[in-house]
Subunit: 438 residues, 2 copies
Amino acid sequence: MNQPVRIGIVGLGTVGSGVVRLLVDSADHITRHAGRPILVEKAVVFDPAKKRTVQVPGGKISSDIHDISRDESISVVALLVGGLEPARSMMVELLEQGKDVVTANKALLAEHGPELFALARKQGRSIAFEAAVAGGIPIVAAIGECLAANRIESIRGILNGTSNFILTRMEEDGSSYAEALKLAQAKGFAEADPSMDVDGTDATQKLAILAHLAFGAWVPWAEIPRTGIDGLDIDLLHYAAELGYRIRLVALATRSDDRLAMRVAPALVKIGTPLAETRGAYNAVSLVGDAVGRMFFHGLGAGQMPTASAVVADIIDTVVGRTAITFRTTGLLSPDSPAAKLAGVATHQRHFLRIHVSDRPGVLARITGILGDHGISIASVIQHDPVQQDPADIQQTGVPLVIMTHTCAATAVEAAVAEIDRSDAVRGRSVCLGVLDD
Amino acid sequence: MNQPVRIGIVGLGTVGSGVVRLLVDSADHITRHAGRPILVEKAVVFDPAKKRTVQVPGGKISSDIHDISRDESISVVALLVGGLEPARSMMVELLEQGKDVVTANKALLAEHGPELFALARKQGRSIAFEAAVAGGIPIVAAIGECLAANRIESIRGILNGTSNFILTRMEEDGSSYAEALKLAQAKGFAEADPSMDVDGTDATQKLAILAHLAFGAWVPWAEIPRTGIDGLDIDLLHYAAELGYRIRLVALATRSDDRLAMRVAPALVKIGTPLAETRGAYNAVSLVGDAVGRMFFHGLGAGQMPTASAVVADIIDTVVGRTAITFRTTGLLSPDSPAAKLAGVATHQRHFLRIHVSDRPGVLARITGILGDHGISIASVIQHDPVQQDPADIQQTGVPLVIMTHTCAATAVEAAVAEIDRSDAVRGRSVCLGVLDD
């Protein structure tokens, strides 16, 4: 039997506890894959006095990162705290002290990836981050290693489990957004402050990381256009269903020559297609490679043990030496990464519009006239008889008019919707969502 | 720029040509992932005089394996010929001469895996085989590396693209089995002699390899119970559809403590579930890990470029050194692999039966009585009025009676069907298929 490798863990929250539990409960199995036992020697936490559900096998727990970073018996550290600080400073300290780091912190990588990767490279260390994107789905390895022979042409992902859980509850239970969010919080699928999840930030940070793996270019996440699910209401889901679609928060990156189109936004996905069948806290990634064709991955995108599964796989890869090779050969986030040329790609697709219009003669003609002026032709229209509504309400909020367009340029639709929303026949702001038919 | 690594290719058929094309066409991209250029130095083929659609970049082509095996400038060889011989002898020669081997030959591994892996280990070389199972889907890496922290509990796969293409054509076009097979041959999805695909052999060999990766145990493929799609007729698909199911050739392995249940057979899969939505030449694998939960992978399972994608990924992994690590640490097919304890696992599920019965009083009572005697209760029955059939035909072939059971033991159903088929009320042999509801 080989000597055990001693590792450190920073953070014993949900994921950190799961990692310790997995390393202990499946020790035999993991030893077989790593070629030697993996022993959690020390943990660093904010409050060492707090009662824990797991025991650190090495028995050492402190609040000082130096207890791990300066311990020469420890070569690999799992950094499992969220947010930017002190996570960033801790990773810098660990790399400077010569540790290989495994992390699940996508915000940290999306925000400070280039400087952290440069530091790791300078120190001859590695950073592994399978758990940072799509939880248990091994999408980082798939794109970075298994599909390495392919030029990736496009990626579409459902990358935020919280948003997907909320949308699925609204769709299946008819709950309002607020009710579904409350349920997500009660079930632990959403945090007390869910804004990073529901406003699209989390999915956008993950998309930035995936797109770098797939396309080489590094796009600062804040430059990627994003819309969350927090502006959606149940009526939109009902209209989508009437047309044969569901609504999902879709992260999208498409390469066209050397340009990238990237976006995170709610979109209509056709019922029966894999993204539409991705429910609850599941994540999914669909991608197209020039050799492999279309591939689809589906699995739990968050939660204690699925995330721990990815972290421990990275720990094994780091211990056996695979991570060092991958980190060296792929040159992730290196200064030679090609500059991103975001946008400039004309997106053509069908669009779904919901417009609240005044219930008076000539309005439909005006709306459709504006669309026609922008070269947009209409595939279908829904306007239900507002028979059960109070006429005073109708006067106030208008009646909903839903239009599905034929394929047209996103820029044309945006211009048309802006003009429609300026019209005095319209109440409030219209909703415009892209439509994914395949 | 690092020195190029020189590789050899044995076999320039569909896959071999695809590998050369991918290495040439995507050279820049692949160099970036491998850290150095990969150059196909020599090819060995059966007929060097044959006109080829691809040029070997190194320009050397011969019919003698020694031209590659004894060339010390070549360290990695892609062995891309099918069948057992001369593939086996060639792999032995390559390993004995110190080459690392990449292969797509699942029959060779299923039949001679243990001896070939032992030889590779003795020689300090590696065998990579991502392309041997599920074509472009990186399921070997997923199970062997990415999900290494998990105890896999079950695997369900659609692993034979030919069978799936035929079933999809029958289901979508209403073609007969023979017509769909002919179309598959015309489109290059089935070989002139399709028996290894349609009788379940190919899927069973792939299942044996996947199960070894997932469970450690090595089960000789010929011991795994298998039924192909060659006994299916279009009526079975229609009855399945009437009940809300499609029929797929499903490869199944389930762990229960230290026992394995394995089987390849046509099964009913519920419409809307991922396996039912796997169409045409696509493959799919659904698995459950104790940490990660349920994962699903879907992609092209065969064809020139998807298979080449997997072969080139393995070549890159071998060149950079990841394969050597994985091969060493996972101890695949080593003498310490636990012995398989196949069967002995009671499989409980719903079953679909089609029985051709005489059209006379009391028959339904007799059939259902036999089922009842075996403790099998009935969920639904279909017997259509045979109004359009010739009474003489009915006398000859009987009328079809379709029964969906509630969950029951497979052994009970087998015993009941055997008794039913012995009854003089029954014409021909009944069909009994398992039902997968999730």
